[in-house]
Amino acid sequence: MARHLYNKIEQQQAPAFFVRGPSPFARLAFFSVLSLALMASDSRLQYLASMRQSLQTLLHPLQLLANAPSQLYLNTTEYFSTHDTLLSENQQLKKRDLMQSIALQKLNLLAVENAHMRVLLAAQAALKESSVAAEIMHVGRDPFTRKVLINRGQNHKILPGMAVVDAAGVIGQVTRVYPLSSEVTLITDTSLAMPVQIERNGLRAIAFGHGRDSTVDLPYLPANVDIKRGDRLVTSGIDGVYPAGLAVATVKQIVSAADTPFARIVCEPAGGVENHRQVLVVSKPQLGSITAPSLTQPVKLGLTQAKSADKKQSMPNKSVKPRDAHAR
């Protein structure tokens, strides 16, 4: 039997110019089935996640090498930037620093006041979050999705699900974490949805990425909804993933067609989704009091503090209600 089969295979190979092994068609069938099996197991069963992680780590040095020329270019242009530009930039930064430090002083005062108010109200303490600065290494290479790779990963305590923001607003969410880098899905990707709130009237909604033309949609809202052009969307924070109050997008266009009961609302992302290099990865908000060093020394609030302490003792444990910060 085996010999017969062997002869058959031999006969098949005979007309080839040189020995080629199995026919291209056989190879095509074999490798196609293998690819399909891989796709299924990778997308549905998540068996290959750890393998992808380790392979990605092997790839990391190559990636750094590929990034080196552009990095070098950036560094040299930075080095040769003129004295004038540096001076004016310095002046601008100083001005901004002054303005921000004034704002920060006010904020400190408000935060302390807020903390005590919360104690007075026996409300739960505000959620706090920590953050890691990161830099975008490159834009995702898959033309069908909107992703970027950043240079911070598992080794820097990045976890999947963390929010990624830049100076102007939210740009996305960490979706895959490798040891030295991680993948961020941008808010313009169709697979990303985030709970938002209209800043003007507090209306809650869910924003979806639109994919094709870097915009964000607000679907499933009735045609007569109270949203105007220019309204700002901020994160609502009710998901426990994004800190509340971060800018997400601005409403650009509202179309209410007669054939659907829903309004079509197109928004423009607030963050520079496609043009900044430096980003901040913000961890999921966790329960805890605000403990920044500047906030621990309250200014002229001794009286209120004592009062609030009394109040706290008089109402034991009633207010402690840990909130589950993990959304998934």
């Binding site: 095509l28 490798f31 796709m39 590929a66 490159h138 290479r141």
Partner: protein
């Protein structure tokens, strides 16, 4: 087996992979030709004893990894493309320059269409006709390489 040729093959694949890893963005990303597939097609035409459908599959996996996509998507697209490349490889000797160019263009298109089909099944949406730009730029690159003296086989050349 000529060891020298094998070395060149590995080196060219590495070079293609590195150019894939370059930080492309926005417009550049849109027109970036599929370097890996071009190198693969070249070797499938020139040295079918060194590489085959299996090689295409392996390289596809590598590209999948670099692109951060689900494993097997590029692998399947490359496998199908390589099958067509290998099937018509022997006829290529009779092709003229223009015919070969069309042949390479259709191979690049096959790979992109395959990828589009796979992605659409996975819930992606078509991003417009500009999606096929890499095939065009790929053919340009091929033309450039031939113009610079790369021997890609075909009639009227010392094979």
């Amino acid at each position: 087996m000529p060891v020298n040729k094998l070395k060149t093959l590995y080196f060219s694949v590495l070079l293609a992979f590195m150019s894939l890893l370059l930080p492309w963005s926005q417009t550049a990303l849109l027109v970036r030709p599929d370097f890996m597939l071009l190198v693969l097609i070249f070797w499938l035409i020139r040295a079918p004893n060194l590489c085959n459908v299996g090689t295409a599959w392996m390289l596809g996996l590598l590209v999948d990894l670099a692109a951060g996509m689900v494993f097997g998507q590029y692998a399947l697209a490359y496998t199908v493309t390589a099958f067509f490349a290998v099937t018509y490889q022997r006829r290529l000797v009779l092709f003229t320059g223009v015919q070969q160019l069309l042949y390479v263009f259709s191979l690049l298109l096959i790979s992109q269409v395959m990828l589009l089909i796979i992605k659409t099944f996975a819930g992606g949406q078509f991003i417009g006709w500009l999606y096929f730009l890499p095939s065009l730029s790929g053919v340009m690159l091929w033309l450039l390489a031939v113009g610079l003296g790369l021997n890609t086989g075909g009639r009227g050349r010392a094979n």
